[in-house]
Symmetry: C2
Subunit: 237 residues, 2 copies
DNA sequence: TCAAATCCGTAACCAAAGTTACAAAAAGTT
DNA sequence: AACTTTTTGTAACTTTGGTTACGGATTTGA
């Protein structure tokens, strides 16, 4: 854990919920407590494998990582794609789980920090105020993750492909505030995300286009009939 | 918040993760900080409705509550069934969300405690040690919830009904340690839980029985061919 | 700039699961 | 015990979506 590494972490601190509301001093003090490790990976490298020994939470310093689950048959579902400043493995850290519950893959070239679970949970020797803030931030992060899982669950509890697409597009619309927007995923990734087969996704999107509900080309999508889309999201065809 | 109510809470403290590792004194001190409310409900009463104003986390004092989500069409999915000592709404509490993300229904006659979100998050005037423990317990609870959501997500990410049934039965087996066990749900509820149509569930269970994989009568189930069941859980038919 | 790799739409075919309806069995009530 | 209600299995029929395969478009990279 060299000075260079500490600087790296400080450079992302403002983008990282874990270090929210901490000033430079607090952060420095905290970082010396944490005993973290920093490593870099190439695209598609496996950073942590589901089932492997859990050494501590991860923080994305640079690049993107994907949280995926897969079964032996090879069906794979993308839980989340994390960027700069985002965390993974925080659930395992506070439940005493000793194994990674999901696989973490480098989605791009990336750098990640790992912090041992016990350094997070255990009080540090000196009562540092930053440690208290860390815990509070952690609560917020965990809650938000749980809400994200909830949202994912909502998608998968929709039975029709059309419903999933419609819900997804409506969420993109709410996020962007515009009826024309770009998707952050390609068809393969979107199909994974919605847990459907890629050709089935294409087919349904085209049907929705033919019915005048939406329009699209590659990753750009335009909502043409908001009411019809909302109806589709609720299972009315 | 009368003495009677404080006693009620103390009586479930040992079954409640939120008050883990606290002695009687700490608990009493803490409870006076929290400004909680206690109410009772009849079966099928709506305790909190998705979208309604979020007033604070809930703790089940007695009976059972169900966490459900439903869309306008009436498709309903049971997220969780909570008993004595278990929490709900903790995700909203730490994310500043002002609305209930799910609906809470009284599954049986029940009594619940609501604690205002700000009383949990805000430091109490006197630095009470119990408050620190409360926060640490909260971290554990939240993490465990997130893992539960993960698990639910695993069920729904399985595409075949057979796979979902097999996974579910294997989990029951792991829980009970026996190859013969009783299901806590009837067919309707199980179908809801696995997010499939009830007749489809029945049909598939019967097929699995005809193939010698399992045996069942009403809510009693026996696993006859463990290997076949495990194979089915992984999508091999 | 050309070749290779990737992405996307398309179509035919087939398997899986939803829908509806009904009857038998079980549980609960009077 | 007789009746009602709820739970479950069953079957016919329909719809949805997965599978496989292919070709054109786009992007990447040498």
């Amino acid at each position: 854990m060299e000075t260079k590494h500490i600087e790296k972490v400080q450079s992302i601190a403002k983008d990282c919920m874990l270090f929210k509301d901490m000033n430079g001093e607090e952060l420095s003090a905290l970082l010396t407590c944490l005993d973290f490790k920093i490593r870099s990976f190439s695209r598609n490298d496996i950073i942590n494998m589901a089932g492997d020994f859990f050494e501590g939470i991860g923080v994305v310093i640079d690049g993107q990582v994907a949280v995926v689950k897969e079964n032996i048959v090879g069906e794979r579902i993308i839980f989340d794609i994390l960027g700069r400043g985002e965390l993974f493995g925080e659930m395992a850290a506070f439940t005493g789980v000793r194994k990674w519950p999901a696989t973490i893959i480098a989605n791009t070239e990336c750098t990640v920090m790992h912090v041992p679970a016990d350094k997070l949970v255990g009080q540090c020797s000196q009562t540092c105020t930053a440690h208290t803030k860390l815990i509070m931030n952690m609560l917020g992060i965990l809650s938000r993750k749980a809400l994200t899982l909830n949202r994912q669950l909502e998608y998968l509890s929709i039975k029709s492909i059309r419903g999933r697409i419609a819900s997804f597009l409506l969420e993109q619309y709410k996020k962007s505030g515009k009826t024309t927007f770009m998707l952050a995923m390609n068809r393969n990734e979107l199909a994974d995300f919605l847990n459907v087969a890629r050709p089935s996704l294409s087919r349904e999107m085209c049907r929705m286009r033919d019915e005048g509900m939406i329009d699209f080309h590659r990753s750009s999508v335009r909502i043409r009939d908001m009411e019809a889309l909302k109806a589709a999201a609720q299972g009315m065809h």
